[in-house]
């Protein structure tokens, strides 16, 4: 039992380590909130060069520049929304890992839900149809006698 659990734990450990932040710079903040704000923004904003990583996890030069820009704006007292607006104006919705809800991103937000609903509808109809179908009745006495005689002949 103990041995079988080890691989499970190892897989779990691998999954846990994905979220490690790779930012290298040591930014000094005036207070805890600013640091929290920086973490949140560099976690939520995407590196425009590397496609599949956020600003915190990327060592591309542009990611470092944008982290510095965020740091500067946080020190100036800008809010999260203001900083995200600043980035979206320059890099588009692409830079935000949590894209805003509008006509262009509607399918992104609700597509999976719509597919799930369609799937549930289909499953529900199939199950209902199966229930409505008359249960296969057992053989009548006549059919049973016929079956018995066939089986008897083949012996």
């Amino acid at each position: 039992m103990r041995n079988t659990l080890i691989p499970v734990f190892m897989i779990f450990a691998c999954l846990c380590s994905v979220n490690v932040n790779a930012a290298i710079e040591d930014y000094v903040f005036e207070n805890q909130e600013q640091q929290q704000q920086f973490r949140q923004l560099s976690d939520q904003l995407r590196c425009p060069m590397c496609l599949n990583s956020n600003l915190a996890g990327s060592d591309a030069p542009i990611a470092a520049d944008l982290r510095a820009e965020i740091y500067q704006q946080i020190l100036e007292g800008r809010s999260n929304d203001e900083i995200i607006d600043f980035m979206t104006q320059r890099y588009g919705d692409f830079i935000n890992y949590r894209p805003p809800l509008n006509r262009g991103t509607f399918m992104l937000w609700f597509g999976p839900l719509i597919l799930l609903l369609i799937g549930m509808l289909v499953a529900w109809r199939i199950i209902r149809n199966n229930q409505n179908r008359p249960a296969t009745a057992g053989l009548s006495t006549e059919e049973q006698q016929k079956l018995d005689s066939i089986l008897a002949d083949n012996k």
């Binding site: 060069m49 496609l51 030069p61 542009i62 520049d65 820009e69 320059r90 692409f94």
Partner: protein, 177 residues
Amino acid sequence: MNNRVKLFIPAVFFFLMLGLLLFGLGRNPNQVPSALVNRPLPEFSLPELNNVTTMINSEDLQGNISIINFWATWCPPCHVEHPYLVEISEREEDLNFIGVNYKDDLNEARLFLEEKGTPFRQVIVDLDGSLGIDFGVAGAPETFIVDSFGMIRYRHVGVINHQIWEDTFEPVINRLK
């Protein structure tokens, strides 16, 4: 609905998804839509590479179609596209070729242009990359087409060569003329 027809619904759905995914696969994931296309040039005032006391403003770029090229000597693809840019700029005399020297060593940049020739009428110095951020640049080289009213009309990421110039730049420029 006929039951036989119904049997084909999953297949139709499957091929629709297949088509969508194949379409997505054919697209270049690096071709990120630019947020700045059809928006005015960002405001800036930055020194000129060969005469750092002269400032270039965003208004200076109006009145003519401009090609704004972000480049640096540390960027290998910029070396690749440089001879093409020189050639194209000699051929297209009515276009205003502007370089943005992006986060570079200024002396190396001057030397580079002296040795290999310059396609640019003016080179804007962007030492810390802040103009790059205002243009939504992710790295060098990137090239923008700006119309004579100072509106950004096109963004190209990566190297320019004759093929790319003819296929993507010329149609946009001809439309703007």
